[in-house]
């Protein structure tokens, strides 16, 4: 097989410059015009395409002074053939909440990364960070210095709190039930030490969605999922409902029939919602954004435990606090988070996510440990098996219960 280490030809990758969708190959090529790192990356990637095999090795421990997280070490397994990317470490830079930027902020990042790295990025990584893709060990400190001087800092990696992220929320969404940007920024600032210095059994992710539409996939991708919701009645503008119907929406079929609890009725004149049975799924509001809005008594459902499958199977977060008001300084939430971290830090096994711990010790015991009262909102249904660990029993001759 032709070694593409030397010659700049990339016939296979070139195929990926065709077609209407913007091409990552074009991005690497453009950047390669002033970055040798990218030339080697192109060649190595072409080789991976030929061989159908990656060429990266486990990263050792690399990072910036005083931090344990924020950098992913990476080395290729053919350093002699691709010397410019012998090291190719990633720097995770904490994005501004909601991924908002000024053009100047973006240019600042670009300038720093052009000076100290490959010039390639991911906008953004799956956890939400700005991913500065590929540099050598010696450039880490200088890059970090310039980033902090420009007001940026690193995100999380390893067994620490990962970079919290949030949906666009109140900045551009009429459905936000709490200030997702503010809480994300607040928690990130409040827990800087936990973010930068891995001291947990494993990673801990926080994602903040302003409403049950969950536009940051928090229920699937965050150890703590904060999902906005409301307690009072959906706000209805009957005139706009009629307008939506007039505009062609089949309210009975498309809205009422899709309500999970069938608690909306439409008689052609008026939309009637039985809010006591509304489970705040958002569908009717989604379908008629001009006519319906969440109620005014707003807050969030706090859920815990989501993760990917490795290794006990994937988890979705489950309800920990059915409804919590969220106003700065978010003391109630921060206390809860710290109680969870304390218990997890003490009893979590190495590489055991909090959701796995919760299952291992049992939700009931977990709640006791973090001092949260059990409520039926936490479960889909009570136990089906009769294997109850009753905790007390009478001893002969005594009347009151005995702790065993």
């Amino acid at each position: 097989m032709a070694d593409s280490g030397g010659n700049g030809k990339t016939p296979l990758l070139d195929e990926l410059e065709k077609g209407p969708w913007p091409s990552f190959v074009t991005q690497i090529k453009d950047t390669a015009e002033d970055k040798d790192m990218c030339k080697d990356l192109l060649s190595l990637l072409e080789r991976s395409y030929e061989e159908r095999k990656g060429h990266w090795k486990h990263g050792g421990i690399v990072g910036v002074m005083g931090y344990g997280g924020g950098v992913i070490g990476r080395y290729n397994d053919l350093p002699d053939e691709y010397p410019n990317i012998a090291h190719f470490h990633t720097i995770r830079v904490n994005m501004p909440s909601g991924w908002f930027y000024t053009s100047d902020a973006l240019r600042t990042i670009c300038d720093i990364w052009e000076r100290h790295g490959s010039g390639l990025t991911n906008m953004h990584g799956s956890t939400g960070d700005i991913i500065l893709l590929g540099t050598v060990t010696d450039e880490l400190e200088p890059a970090f210095k310039e980033l902090t001087d420009a007001g940026f800092d690193l995100g999380g990696s390893g067994s620490d709190m990962r970079t919290p992220s949030c949906c666009v929320g109140p900045a551009r969404c009429e459905w936000a039930c709490y200030d997702t940007l503010n809480i994300t920024n607040d928690l990130t600032q409040h827990f800087q030490d936990e973010l930068h210095r891995p001291a947990f059994p494993y990673k801990f992710k926080i994602k903040c969605a302003g409403c049950p539409n969950d536009c940051v996939a928090s229920v699937a991708r965050a150890d703590m999922s904060i999902i906005g919701t409301w307690r009072d009645d959906i706000q209805v503008d009957q005139a706009e409902v009629k307008a939506a119907a007039a505009a062609g929406l089949d309210i009975q079929k498309d809205v009422c029939a899709n309500c999970p609890t069938k608690c909306i009725e439409w008689d052609g004149e008026e939309l009637a919602i039985d809010d006591t049975n509304c489970v705040k799924c958002m569908h009717c509001i989604n379908a008629m954004p001009k006519a319906l809005r969440p109620g005014n008594d707003r807050g969030a459902t706090i859920m815990l435990g989501a993760k990917a499958p490795i290794v006990e199977g994937a988890l979705l977060s489950s309800v920990l606090v059915p409804f919590m008001k969220l106003e700065p300084p978010y003391e109630e939430l921060k206390d809860l988070i710290e109680r969870i971290w304390d218990f997890w830090g003490e009893h979590g096994k190495n590489r055991e996510r909090v959701g796995e711990l919760m299952q291992r010790v049992g939700l009931g015991n977990f709640l006791e440990a973090i001092e949260v009262e059990p409520v039926p909102q936490m479960i889909a249904h009570p136990r089906e098996n009769p294997y109850v660990f009753y905790e007390d029993y009478y001893e002969e001759g005594e009347e009151e219960e005995e702790e065993q």
Binding site: P22, R52, G66, F100, A171, E174, Q192, A217
Partner: protein, 358 residues
């Protein structure tokens, strides 16, 4: 040359307020409603009556500094210098003057960035590093994403579909793309047990390695005098957890690595509760540069959904309604032993009722 004392640390990210355009500051938390203007363009109207136009452009996510600077220039030209990125890695330009929408779209076209993905559309594919940067990849990420988005382009940029359809890709079972809850998920998989490299004991703690295997398929052994491990191939289901803890157990294997396709997951609470994706196609071989079989398989599933789903109906909700047997029938996907769960909760996935279509 700087000394430690001067180093700034733990300053956290820049405050988001510095990044918000005036119209957002003015209407923050006071938006009234939004409307789709045309594909890729929506308007949010504030209680004040102010309007904010969003133009969403597709992005490969992997961006060079040149392109980012070009985005910055466009933001200056049309948006007073303000823009954002989405949770699916698209770029959103934030305008107050609707007259500037079409010129912006035209400039984006020149740069090669389509506008779309809003509302009932197929948006960008959440994905991961693949061969570009990760040691753990069973396939590439960016390449498959490019090929699939090229093929589904019309549903991003032009044609409306029944509801939202979210596609995600992860290049190994770690699932950094969180593909476990997507309408359609593309997942890189290994199908061959790890090779045991010589001198493993020098790189890894044998007990840790043994403990890392969920199926207890790793046993300690001696290889020419050296402590090492052996793999019970029958017991291996290729999760690569052993490789995550020990580099001397490489899993990557050109002959057997490939891709599996999953369907029917969702995360929103709209209508039905969040749910995991389920296995549709157990294995498709890696066929770079454009993975035609993967592209074709995804297209097939998408088309069947578009033709048969009701309005608002997500993939999983659609399959709920027609039933899995019909899904396999319609897609022509063969049902095999691999589809039947045999992990922890397997029993609960068996059909425990006589409610069947015949």
């Amino acid at each position: 040359m700087t000394t430690v004392t001067e180093r700034k640390t733990d300053i956290g990210p820049p405050h988001y307020e510095k990044m918000l355009p005036p119209v957002i500051k003015a209407n923050y938390g006071k938006w009234r409603y939004h409307e789709l203007v045309k594909p890729g363009v929506m308007v949010h109207v504030g209680e004040s009556g102010d309007k904010l136009f969003t133009v969403r452009a597709g992005s490969p996510r992997l961006l060079g500094v040149r392109r980012i600077r070009q985005f910055a220039d466009l933001a200056d030209k049309y948006c007073d210098g303000y823009l954002r990125f989405t949770s699916r890695n698209n770029v959103e330009f934030l305008l107050t003057d609707d007259a500037k929408i079409d010129p912006l779209i035209a400039d984006l076209k020149v740069l090669g960035h389509p506008v779309g993905g809003i509302g009932n559309a197929i948006s960008n594919i959440v994905h991961t590093q693949g061969w570009v940067h990760c040691h753990s990849a069973a396939t590439d990420a960016s390449g498959i994403v490019k090929a699939v988005m090229d093929d589904l382009f019309e549903y991003f940029a032009e044609t409306e579909v029944p509801g939202k359809l979210r596609i995600a890709l992860a290049c190994c079972l770690n699932m950094c793309g969180a593909v476990h809850c997507s309408d359609i998920a593309i997942l890189g998989i290994h199908r061959r047990p790890p090779k045991v490299e010589g001198g493993l004991n020098k790189v890894c703690e044998i007990p840790n390695v043994v403990a890392s295997c969920p199926t207890a398929a790793i046993r300690p052994t001696q290889v020419d005098g050296q402590p090492s491990v052996e793999i019970d191939e029958e017991g291996c289901m290729f999760c690569a957890n052993c490789f995550s803890v020990c580099p001397a157990l490489p899993m990557a294997d050109p002959l057997n690595d490939g891709v599996s396709i999953w369907v029917g997951g969702k995360v929103s609470n709209a209508r039905s509760e969040p749910r995991f994706s389920k296995l549709a196609i157990p294995y498709i071989e890696n066929n770079p540069p454009r993975w035609p079989e993967v592209v074709e398989s995804v297209r097939n599933i998408v088309e069947i959904w578009i033709k048969n789903a009701r309005k608002f109906e997500r993939m999983g909700e659609f399959i709920d309604r027609i039933g899995w047997p019909r899904f396999f029938e319609m897609t022509g996907i063969e049902f095999t032993k691999e589809h039947i769960d045999d992990f922890k909760y397997a029993g609960l996935t068996y059909k425990r009722s006589a409610q069947l279509r015949h």
